[in-house]
Symmetry: C3
Subunit: 484 residues, 3 copies
């Protein structure tokens, strides 16, 4: 028998690459593996219950340290009856010779049937997926996302709490550097939980994640005055509306909402200081311990952590009934077994391909920047900034919210960070525009090739464009040569 | 079919975790795999003769370099029909992010059915075993022990010599830094061999290993005068009594014994300078070569080495019939196949669990030091000294030989090194005692919580305790605050 | 069932270890795996179509970074139903403790059935093969050879062009540092292709490869004047005679040949600057891009690259129909499946052992230099120069072309580089000879033990030998002690 790749290759780069129904299917499939267990007590032993994956190979391509993600993927594949090939160390791979990720992926895709990638750059998994003929699963890309950890997290919460709707989930620590948190808050919003942020000082959610929660996932944020007066630790509270996924047009601050929030916390999610993503390595950081959890509102709160921990979660909690973090880790095997088997189409009755195909893509237009000029992704850790990938990862953006000047932005197609200010230049007229009407018009008339975007007016001027109404300013005020 | 862990989890941290009968069972099982071979000539090829381990996964968690131990364990598991997941490099694992061993083990235990660990710290395997729900096998922990190497060594000797009783085994090189040697001498003593030490200068057996050989394994040491006059190279000779495992109360030096020792050496065991465990990297080191082995007493001596070698064993011996070191390495596969299959209970007729459960535990009491005060393990390389493990590896000791002041000591529960001098303080009376009677009384009355041990009187004083009879000295002579 | 090693162990160190017929058998076997595919479109998915290798283990022992070679070997073994053990990083292997390759190989050979080795030193694979009881496959040794890459390359060319006879293959880049190129040009010559070299400045073929092409593979080189006037990029052109493998006695330069060469290029093989093999890291390097390939003679040229590339092959060619470099990588799996299964004798109808046994060994005599004196291999990167291997890799040479003083030379048995000038000393007469007659006579009379070779007269003098006719010069002019 010869293995055959799934004709419609699906990649899991973001948690939002899975529809709600597909996430439910992952959970059902994982529960199916757990139901086979003769002994249901934790820690779970997951034997090789099936040989469905036996002709298939999973490759791990890891450019950053990992124990649990890599080993749990490998264990999952082996327990499905499949095989594994591993590149765990960039220093011993062809990356050490200067090979681009795009080339490495196209090569390794010939040796395996599904590929798990971890990389220090935001958006690297998306780049890999663009070049891979086999399914790519994001095992963590920079500070962007870590969707399979979120599947374990949500599955753990669901097992404890049946439903996520209306649950209060507090999240503590480095919310900016932790990719795990970004995937997690999207999923919480989608399943109707309320998100209470308790960041370390200066480590709040990235602006673009906040924007998406409010503008795309319909979260309402609650006024500092009413709720936070009595909940000092909570920096921001996102209340998910009755119907998630509907763009909410209500104002950002809705004081009334606060009265509806139960004061009971259903889970506290703790994350470590991601020091590899920060220049300043010594920063104050909150610790969650038994004392913190003594308050009545935490009495039934599950204590969660993606691990590893390095001091921010006291080990005295290991014997506390509320601790579920080793269960999160244990669920890594059945969840990843489910994900692999669904991506490879190994279950007749259940498959991703029976769905429409993932979370609906943004109803937005993609714009690809010409090489060598114009706007760049502003995130210094984005994969497009990596010199080795320069030729493969072009600056590419989703144009978001052009109808509303206050919300219009460009979203990098790789790292999904936002650019809120830019100017639109017209190659034919050599003019540029500071509002977004011109970009909207170019999209409407399918004339994106005629335009080029710049970070600001000065850069457009330097490139030889002039402001719409001020044609005389052309090529003055700047000695820079004009280019097109 | 779903794998199920053995209900009574057994760990192999020390060679002394296996009873003599269990070691025999390992050898019988290994011989069974060898008997399946159509061609008995060396080097042995061990095919996959069985699929008994097919639903199981072995994980290797290596924090120190290894080729033969890791690859032979992996080969053994694969040849049993099982699967393997590997973490061979701490730099690419979550240890690089600062995760404790205790956490790593609890996580990886969810992904595998048996765990082999190697670590630069003495006692690390014991710590791992304390936290692991699945069997832990020590693949070498610092300078402490390497029990599976010893199983290969003893099996090699047995294959050559039928029985170990009364055999003379000379051991050359770094006896202090070599974990292999420590497991080996315990096994030699238990199986009745005589141990002749030929250490490099300053590299004799650690004091605690010497103590155990004499005080627990019943070895008698032989006077320098009588035997060593004609055997200048031999620094110490341990003669194993007729009935090993009986605590010998005879004096350390028994000149008469020497006359009974045959002058024939049955094996010379050579070990490399363990330079990774010594601050001073350039030290004189003995070389074993053809010239050394020309003496008549070595004419039938097997030449052994755990490998790797780095010059101390001349390669001219590779073609010498007495050389068995590549056979030791070759036996790694059947021995480890046997160990894995017995730990996982894969053989109906043979199993560790049919035995009483290992080498009898020390008939001693364990004492756990309160955090933050009191006595610490004196071995600077012990796992309890590792900052990352501080919260998991508490100072914990066996109280040994309290009946005999000359032999009373504390043995670290992790690295098994000894503390010979300590004082016992009573939290209630705030007094301390320099003899061991008070500790013995506290054990007898099950009042260990009332006492706290200190390295010496000065530290007890600093902590606010005073000598039993000198109550006026309390809190004088030291400006340190009192604590309890 | 118990695996049994092939009685006549074959190693693949050089492409020349395989006869032409055996290479054809590798290709047929590989094509057999491809023919099983239901979907023949590229990229190929190679499922586990067989379990023939199921009791066998392949070990990879890599001392240099690799992604494609290691992972494609592992994928190949898994797809044959076999298992894999991996040592990918010398820093985490026993090499970190100073173990020699010879010892590592003898140990690992007990854990596996076939061994793939990669090493930074030229000739390391040959050394490994000398010590290994199981088949060794060279996965790349220094700047020496990379035969399995060449099998993929030739298979790719054959698939495109049916036959290699008379094809024009241009090769661009670092022809000196690239081991891939060395195996490749031998194979091209053997299968009758014409080789057009387009080296980067100063990076031409090593002298010994050039010598072999001309003196052993019968290539004629073409005059600069006639051909190269219109093909400026081509530095050297080797035209393979009608009957390859016949020692050509014609002159090096044959101007007439040029007129017979078609001006059409069938393939351009590009290789990266092997900066790890050069002291000077910043050197001018040619880039192959769409513009370069615009000339009519390249219109049907396959564009090949062993990958990884680091800028010398423009990515705009990725979508060019002539690009076959990802196919070369994809063929890695079926080619290596074929090689492994043939080496292990897994196919009844096809096997290497049905052939006479490889490419005919050089009809030359091997000379082994006594330790500690005399001539050394002149290649500073040869494995014999590695201090850790000094005792295992003795200076050993093939004596080549002694009939013709202009062509006589010593070829290192490991790295195959040449020594063209040497003197032959006679231990009995204490005299030395600058011509090769004395060496030829010693070979003829089987008296190689009587002679010792030196790099030049001065070294022979220093060692106490004197020139044949000038006996009075003995031990004068040099204060060095005489030795034998």
């Amino acid at each position: 028998m010869v293995a055959k790749s799934n004709p419609a290759t699906r990649h899991i780069v973001s948690i939002n690459d899975l529809s709600d129904d597909e996430i439910e299917t992952v959970f059902e499939t994982a529960q199916g593996y757990l139901d086979l267990l003769p002994d249901k007590t934790f820690p779970y032993r997951i034997g090789r219950s099936t040989d469905v994956a036996s002709p298939f190979i999973l490759a791990t391509l890891f450019y950053e340290p990992s124990t649990r993600t890599r080993l749990s993927f490998e264990s999952a594949m082996l327990r499905l009856g499949g095989d594994v090939i591993t590149s765990a160390d960039p220093a011993t791979s062809s990356a050490a010779k200067g090979e681009s990720l795009a080339d490495s992926v196209r090569v390794v895709a010939n040796y395996a049937d599904v590929l798990v990638i971890r990389h220090p750059r935001d958006g690297a998994a998306k780049l890999a997926a663009e070049y891979s003929p086999i399914p790519v699963i994001n095992g963590g890309d920079g500070a962007h996302e870590h969707p399979t950890q979120t599947l374990c997290d949500i599955f753990t919460l669901r097992t404890k709490n049946k439903s996520l709707k209306g649950r209060n989930i507090a999240i503590s620590g480095d919310l900016r550097g932790s990719r795990t948190i970004h995937s997690f808050v999207y999923a919480l919003a989608r399943f109707g939980a309320n998100i209470m942020l308790m960041p370390a000082a200066g480590m709040g959610l990235p602006a673009h994640v906040d924007h998406r929660l409010r503008e795309e996932f319909g979260c309402r944020t609650v006024s500092r005055d009413s709720y936070q007066r009595e909940n000092a630790a909570v920096d921001a509270l996102y209340v998910t509306p009755e119907e998630p996924h509907q763009l909410s047009l209500m104002s950002d601050i809705d004081a009334d909402v606060s009265v509806k929030i139960r004061n009971k916390i259903d889970a506290v999610y703790v994350t470590r200081f991601q020091k590899e993503r920060w220049a300043e390595k010594d920063q104050a950081y909150p610790t969650i311990d038994a004392k913190f959890l003594k308050e009545a509102k935490y009495s039934d709160a599950s204590v969660m952590h993606p691990l590893p921990r390095v001091g921010e979660l006291d080990i005295s909690l290991d014997t506390d009934d509320r601790a579920v973090y080793f269960q999160q880790a244990a669920y890594g095997v059945p969840i990843r077994m489910a994900l692999i088997s669904l991506l490879l189409g190994l279950h007749k009755e259940k498959s991703f391909t029976t769905f429409d195909g993932g979370f609906p893509a943004p109803k937005t237009t993609i714009y690809q920047q010409p090489m060598g000029t114009g706007i760049h992704c502003a995130n210094p850790n984005c994969i497009v900034q990596e010199p080795m990938e320069a030729q493969y990862a072009k600056n590419k953006f989703y144009a978001i919210g052009l109808d509303d000047p206050a919300r219009s932005k460009l979203r990098c197609a790789y790292c999904e960070s936002d650019i809120e200010h830019f100017v639109t230049a017209n190659r034919k007229t050599k003019t540029y525009f500071s509002d977004t009407d011109h970009l909207r018009a170019a999209i409407a008339s399918r004339a994106l090739d005629d335009i080029i975007l710049f970070a600001n007016a000065a850069e457009a001027e330097r490139a030889g464009f002039h402001a719409k109404r001020d044609a005389t300013a052309r090529r003055t005020g700047s000695g820079a040569p004009s280019t097109d």
